[in-house]
Symmetry: C2
Subunit: 415 residues, 2 copies
DNA sequence: TCGACATACTTCAAGACCTAAAATAAATCA
DNA sequence: TGATTTATTTTAGGTCTTGAAGTATGTCGA
C-alpha cells in the first residue's frame, strides 16, 4: 500500500475506535474526534456512537460550528432505511488549523504541513550528513526546512497550531528532552525547547519507532484496531505499541526496546556492546558484517551498498547470501513470537521504508511465528507488512502535533 | 518477608497510589479508596491528596459514614505542626462487608475469608489430588471448603459480597471462563458461572500469575509502586504486570506468557511442545529431567522429590547439580532482562512460594540481569524476591473480590 | 394528494455534581 | 485572653448532561 492509498483508504483520520478508558475527555472533544475519525457523521449517529444524548450533541455541534471547527456538509450516502428526516452530516473544517511534522534522520530531513484533517498541503526534504551534531547546529539545519515549508503552503508561523518532531534515539515525550540520539553530540538535549523558541509554537518530540506507530494509528492499518504492535527493521530494530487506542510508551517512558531483547545466551555482538540482542542478528550492520565474510566484499564500501549487493546476490541464487537472510528471518520470527507471547496484540505491523528485502518478510517467516506461539483461543496474531514512502516519519510526526493541537484548541470550550 | 510482616508493613490495603488514568471514578469511590489505602486519613488530607474541594469530602464522607462504610476514629499520630484544629481521622469500617478468596491448585486447595480492610478472619486448606477433573467435580471438591470457611468465621453466604478464585491455566477474567487449565478435563469451562450459582455470590476468576500480582499490589511490595512486574517460577514460569496501578491483562486478555517466550532457536523441548521456551530451562520439570541424567536419579520418584534431592546435592558441593542450577539462573536472568527491555518496570518482584532455591536467585543472577539490559537514565530496574506463605494465592484472590465488592457497594451512591 | 409514520434535530426545565467562599469549630501560642 | 492556625461545615452558584416534549423533514401507501 503506498502513501496515497493509505491516505484514501478510509475517510477521516485518527483512531476510529473511541478511547473508552479516558472518560474524562470532554464531550466537546469526543464529538470532534468522532467526526474527524469518520470523515463525516450526523448528529444522531454521533450521539448513538458516544452514548450521549442527542441534545448534548446539538449544543456541542453548534458551539464547534460557531468556533469554526465543524461545518454542515452535503452527504450523499445514507445507511439503513430512507424514511424519516434525513440526517445532516457534520465534517471537520479542514483549514481550521494546521500543523507541521518534521523528521530528523541521518540521511535526509523531511517535513510536511497538513491541515486539521491530516491532508498534506506541503512537503519538503533536504539531505543531511551522517555525522553527529549539536542541537544548535541541528536547529540551524532544520530552520530553512520549516521556512520553506511555510513558504510553499503560503502560511506563517502563527498559522501553525503545533509541531511534531521525530528523531531516532531515546526521547522523553513529556519534556521534549532527547536523552540520547545517534544524531546528536549532546545527551539530555532539550530539543523540544530549542525548536519551541525558534518557531514560537508548541513542539512535541518522540522517537522514530513511536512516530511510525502513530502513523499507523492515525493514517494506516491500525486506525480500526484498538491494540496492535508495530515493528520496524532499519538500522536497528524498533517497536511501538498501541494499547486501548493509545500509544503505550512503557512504564517509565523507556521500554519497548525489542532490538535489545536477548535471543541467545552469549550470542552475536551488538553495537550496544552486549551479546545476543535481536538487533545483532537483524539490523543492517548485522547482515553486512556477515556479507563481508560470505562474499568477500569489503565493508569500506559502506553498509548500505553492501546490503544491496547482498540482496542482489541472494536473488541471483547465491546460497551464502540467501543463508544470511534466512537466518535473519528465523530470528525475526523468534522476536515477533516473543512480542505475541508477551503482549498478545491482535495485529503486528511490520512497517517502515525498507520492507523490500522480501526474504526477511516471506511467508515462511510469518508461519514460523505462528509455530513459535501458543494461540489457544484459535485467534492467532495477524501480521501485516506495510511499506510506506519516505514521508512516514514526517507524517507520523504530524499525528503527534494533531493530537496536541486538538487538545489545546478543541478540548477547551470557547477558546 | 513473611505473611504477617507483609500484612503489617503498611496500614490499610490496596494500591497506595491513586489511579490517575481513570478520572471517571466517582469521588465517592476515590475517597473510600484513599482512606482504605492509607489506613486512616483526615478529610482535609484526603481533599488535598485527591485535589478536590474540602466541601466535597465532607459531603461524601458523611454519606459513606451513613452508609456504614467509613467511621471517625481516634488517631494518635499527627504530622506537621500541632497548631490549628486537629484533623479527624476517617477509617474503613472493617466489617462493612466481607469477601472470600479461593485458590485451586494441583496439591492443595485453600480459601480465606477477609473483611473489607483485608484482614483474614478465617482460613481453610484441603489437600487435592493431581489428576484432572471436570468442573462439576471441582465444584463438589471446593464446596465443603467454602462451607467450612463460613462456619469458622461465623458468616453465611449472604454476608459475602464477592468471591475471587485463582486457578492456573488460561482464564478470561471478564467472563469467568477457564479456556484451558491443567486441572480441568474441559476446555472453555464456565468456572465463574458454576461457582456463582453454587454460592449465590458474584464470582471473579483469574489465573495464578495475575493472582500473585494482585497480592503484591494489594498487600505486598507493589502497593507503593505504580508500575511493576511479578515473575513466578513454579511448575511453569508466570508473569503479571501492573501498569499505572492497574493489573494489565494483555491486549486480548491473554499475553504475558513469559514462560513461553523463546530464548534459544531450536532449544530445549518445552512441555508445550515447542522448543526454546524459557520455561524449558527453568521450570521444575526442566531441572529434574536434567537431574535424572546428572545424578542417576530415576524420575519415577516424582518431580518434587528429585528437585529437593538436586538442591541438596548442589548445596553439598555436587558440581553437576550446581551446574544445573547455574544454567537455569543464567536463563532466568536473560528472561528478566527481556522483561526490563520491553516493559521497563521500575521493579520486578520474584514472588511465589518457592523462592528458596537460592542458587536461582543469587546476587550473581541479579547482577547478570543488569549486564544484559541498557539503562541509560541510570535508573536500573530494581529486583526483589518475595517468599510468601502458602496463602498467597488465596489472599490474592481476595483482592479480586475486594475490587469487585468495592465497585458494586461503594461505587454507587446510596446503595 | 394527503395523512400516517419514521427519523433527525432543537429546546428547555430539572437534576447531579462539584467548587469557592464564607462561616464555624477547635486547637496552640504568646 | 485573644490572635492565629488548621479542619470541617454550610451554602450559593456554576457547569454539564440528560430526558422529554416539541419541531422539522423526509418516505410510504391509499
Amino acid at each position: 500500500m503506498n502513501e496515497v492509498e493509505a491516505q484514501a483508504a478510509a475517510p477521516g483520520c485518527g483512531p476510529i475506535l473511541p478511547d473508552h478508558n479516558d472518560q474524562s475527555r470532554s464531550l466537546r472533544k469526543q464529538v470532534f474526534e468522532h467526526v474527524r475519525a469518520h470523515g463525516t457523521a450526523a448528529r444522531a449517529d454521533t450521539a448513538r456512537a458516544l452514548s450521549i444524548s442527542a441534545g448534548s450533541v446539538t449544543g456541542i455541534a453548534a458551539e464547534l460550528i460557531t468556533d469554526g471547527f465543524l461545518q454542515e456538509v452535503e452527504d450523499v450516502a445514507r445507511q439503513g432505511t430512507s424514511r424519516g428526516r434525513p440526517p445532516v452530516a457534520l465534517a471537520v473544517v479542514a483549514d481550521s488549523f494546521h500543523v507541521i511534522g518534521v523528521n530528523i534522520s541521518d540521511r535526509v530531513h523531511s517535513a510536511v504541513l497538513t491541515d486539521s484533517v491530516g491532508r498534506i498541503l506541503a512537503e519538503v526534504t533536504r539531505p543531511a550528513d551522517q555525522q553527529r551534531r549539536s542541537v544548535a547546529e541541528l536547529v540551524t539545519e532544520v530552520e530553512p526546512l520549516i521556512a520553506q515549508l511555510l513558504d510553499v503552503a503560503g502560511k506563517t508561523e502563527s498559522d501553525i497550531a503545533a509541531i511534531g518532531i521525530g528523531i531516532s534515539g531515546m526521547v522523553d515525550n513529556n519534556t521534549g528532552v532527547v536523552e540520547w540520539s545517534p544524531l546528536l553530540t549532546e545527551t539530555n538535549a532539550e530539543l523540544g525547547a530549542a525548536f519551541a523558541t525558534l518557531t514560537n509554537c508548541p513542539v512535541f518530540v518522540d522517537n522514530d519507532a513511536n512516530i511510525v506507530t502513530l502513523a499507523e494509528l492515525w493514517f494506516g492499518d491500525g486506525r480500526a484496531k484498538s491494540d496492535f504492535a508495530v515493528v520496524t527493521v532499519e538500522h536497528g530494530v524498533g517497536m511501538g505499541l498501541v494499547l486501548n487506542n493509545r500509544l503505550f510508551r512503557g512504564a517509565r517512558g523507556m521500554g519497548l526496546e525489542l532490538g535489545h531483547t536477548k535471543v541467545q545466551l552469549d550470542g552475536a555482538l551488538c553495537r550496544c556492546g552486549q551479546r545476543g540482542c535481536l538487533e545483532a542478528y537483524l539490523a543492517d550492520y548485522a547482515l553486512t558484517r556477515e556479507a563481508a565474510t560470505a562474499l568477500g566484499v569489503t565493508t569500506s564500501q559502506g553498509a548500505n551498498v553492501s546490503l544491496e549487493v547482498l540482496f542482489a546476490e541472494a536473488k541471483a541464487g547465491n546460497r551464502a547470501a540467501k543463508a544470511i537472510f534466512d537466518r535473519a528471518a528465523r530470528y525475526l520470527s523468534l522476536g515477533l513470537a516473543n512480542v505475541v507471547q508477551l503482549f498478545d496484540p491482535g495485529l503486528i505491523i511490520l512497517s517502515g521504508e525498507r520492507m523490500r528485502y522480501d526474504y526477511l518478510y516471506a511467508d515462511d517467516m510469518l508461519s514460523e511465528v505462528h509455530k513459535l506461539t501458543l494461540h489457544p483461543g484459535n485467534n492467532p496474531c495477524e501480521i501485516a507488512t506495510h511499506a510506506w514512502g519516505g514521508l512516514v516519519w514526517a507524517k507520523g510526526a504530524t499525528a503527534l502535533a494533531l493530537t496536541a493541537a486538538t487538545d489545546s484548541l478543541v478540548g477547551v470550550s470557547t477558546p
